[in-house]
């Protein structure tokens, strides 16, 4: 006959222990039970994994889905890409985690201790300030945090975006793009935002004014003492293509030369700047395609 269980039996810690709220918590072996076998371990593991255990958001999370373009690579390259992306993800997580702990130190430090903390950890005040801003923005903007984790933002870009002087709408706009973001992208977006006219009268471009430079036009003017614009001249020198296309490109070169000579006649608005950007990008693309850069 089985021994009647007493209250003390029930109170023993190593007695049968079902999770009180059915959360699928860990099971402990019964006292005196046989040594666990592989099959028993598998069964126990299946039990533990039943349901969705809570996972902390720590730096060792590596569960980003692979983009289709990565899966489309040759298998060897796809495998390497997986490791590369996960390493990049870990570095993104690590950046955010470092920023978080720095924030903790900032809060916990008493008078005079913050400088001691920075000195002890070989962290410059500037670096600390930048990391603190990154942490704050990461908490405010899930898209910003995610962009760091996925590697779209490196630390330099993250720092630039997190500056108080960077308008929030610019941060949102840049984060909404799918492409990697560079410091140049951020700087350009900020310059545009600052140069947006506040009245309907187009502002006069100041090609050589550092505060209001239109680099797209200024660049074409710098190298034009009356001769050819190098970026366009390259087509005439190297392109063996049909004369038709060479003539069209030369027409563009003539227009740009004229603009560079008379920048005051060029409206300084977003449409013009976008057009000039597109032209400069097209030139760059052609040059790269033809091996001229």
């Amino acid at each position: 006959m089985a021994r009647k269980r007493t209250l003390q039996d029930l109170l023993r810690r190593d007695g049968a222990s079902a999770p009180p709220d059915g959360s699928g918590g860990p099971r402990r072996p019964h006292a005196g039970s046989p040594a666990p076998t592989a099959a028993a371990d598998d069964a126990a593991l299946a039990t533990i994994q039943r349901g969705q255990p809570y996972r902390l958001s720590l730096a060792d999370e590596t569960d980003l889905p692979l983009p289709p373009a990565v899966r489309a690579l040759r298998p060897e390259l796809s495998d390497i890409a997986r490791f590369y992306l996960r390493a990049r993800q870990r570095s993104g997580h690590a950046l955010l985690e470092a920023a978080r702990w720095l924030s903790e130190a900032r809060v916990a430090a008493r008078h005079g201790e913050w400088d001691d903390f920075l000195a002890a950890t070989h962290t410059s005040p500037d670096t600390a300030e930048r990391l603190l801003r990154i942490y704050t923005l990461a908490l405010q903007s899930p898209a910003f945090a995610q962009a760091i984790v996925t590697g779209r933002l490196n630390q330099s870009v993250a720092e630039r975006l997190a500056r108080p002087s960077t308008p929030a709408d610019i941060v949102e706009t840049l984060l909404a793009t799918e492409q990697p973001i560079s410091v140049a992208h951020v700087e350009r977006a900020i310059r545009r935002a600052r140069q947006e006219p506040t009245t309907t009268t187009p502002a006069r471009p100041r090609a050589h004014d550092p505060g209001g430079e239109m680099p797209q036009i200024a660049a074409f003017g710098v190298h034009d003492p009356g001769g050819e614009i190098p970026q366009i001249a390259a087509f005439g020198a190297h392109d063996p293509g049909p004369r038709f296309w060479a003539s069209r490109l030369q027409e563009i070169a003539d227009v740009l030369r004229s603009l560079a000579r008379h920048p005051e006649q060029v409206p300084n608005d977003a449409a013009v700047r976008d057009a000039l950007d597109a032209m400069a990008l097209a030139v760059q693309t052609i040059q790269e395609a033809r091996g001229w850069r």
Partner: protein, 263 residues
């Protein structure tokens, strides 16, 4: 077994937590918070449960609120002050509404989702002597937020055999959350719902004290029907039934808490 008893701390954040429902978490948060306030302490109680039981027990109607813990968790860098409300019982409350139920999904997968309450309380905690966080019974993002924000955990433990078996799960959870909050530890156990007429309650209490020793408060909370009625009335037990055994017990517990954690 995790141990740790702190004393002489001016600002203390306590998570009232146990991964089992019905053990007295909300009752303890409410009653203890009100009694600490009666002792002259500046107290904030935080409702982390979408069921809003603590909020309603303080006489606050969640349906009338335009700001709650939900907005605080979504905007932690703005601080908790944006949603804190005073009550008629000298204790402030950071209330919860049903909106909180949607926050878990919104926070899923986000960086720092467990750090939001801690971030929001960084400045707020300087305003209070005690912050008591009423945790939901399940282990989810709200409980982890509470544990990450807290200095330590106070566990209400029903004087029942199966309630005692929940303690290892709480200890395990504390160990996990220490990856985010290294200072977190179990600092107190309150034995609740004790009916001294029964042998089993006495035996369980003895076992609790044997295992957890100095962690266990000397005060036990008796099973008292007034403790069940007072939340429904929207009043702390010290107001609803000041002479009841439950009220006397929580007054004594408040004294012990002040002695243990300082003021």
């Amino acid at each position: 077994m995790l141990t740790g008893v702190q004393s002489q701390i001016a600002m203390t954040v306590l998570a009232i937590a146990m991964q089992k429902g019905g053990v007295g978490k909300t009752t303890t948060t409410l009653a203890l918070g009100a009694e600490l306030a009666q002792l002259g302490q500046r107290v904030l109680v935080i409702d982390m449960d979408p069921q809003s039981n603590l909020t309603m027990a303080l006489g606050v109607d969640p349906s009338t609120l335009d700001r709650s813990i939900y907005e605080v968790l979504l905007n932690p860098t703005h601080g908790a002050e944006l949603a804190i409300r005073s009550t008629d019982y000298r204790v402030d409350v950071l209330p919860a509404t049903l909106m909180l139920a949607g926050a878990e999904l919104m926070l899923a997968g986000q960086f720092g989702r467990e750090l939001r309450l801690r971030t929001a309380l960084q400045e707020t905690r300087r305003t209070y002597n005690y912050i008591l966080i009423d945790c939901p019974p399940s282990l989810g993002v709200f409980t982890v937020n509470a544990l990450t924000a807290a200095d330590s955990v106070v566990a209400p433990l029903q004087a029942h055999v199966f309630a005692l078996k929940a303690m290892p799960y709480l200890e395990e959870t504390i160990q996990i959350v220490r990856q985010l909050n290294p200072a977190l530890h179990l600092s107190g156990i309150v034995v609740t719902m004790v009916d001294r007429r029964t042998t089993v309650n006495a035996a369980v209490e003895d076992e609790i004290r044997r295992r957890y020793q100095r962690l266990v408060f000397q005060t036990v909370i008796p099973f008292n029907v007034k403790l069940v009625e007072s939340p429904a009335a929207g009043q702390p037990i010290g107001v609803y039934a000041a002479d009841s055994s439950g009220a006397r017990a929580y007054r004594a517990l408040a004294q012990e808490v002040v002695a243990r954690y300082g003021a």
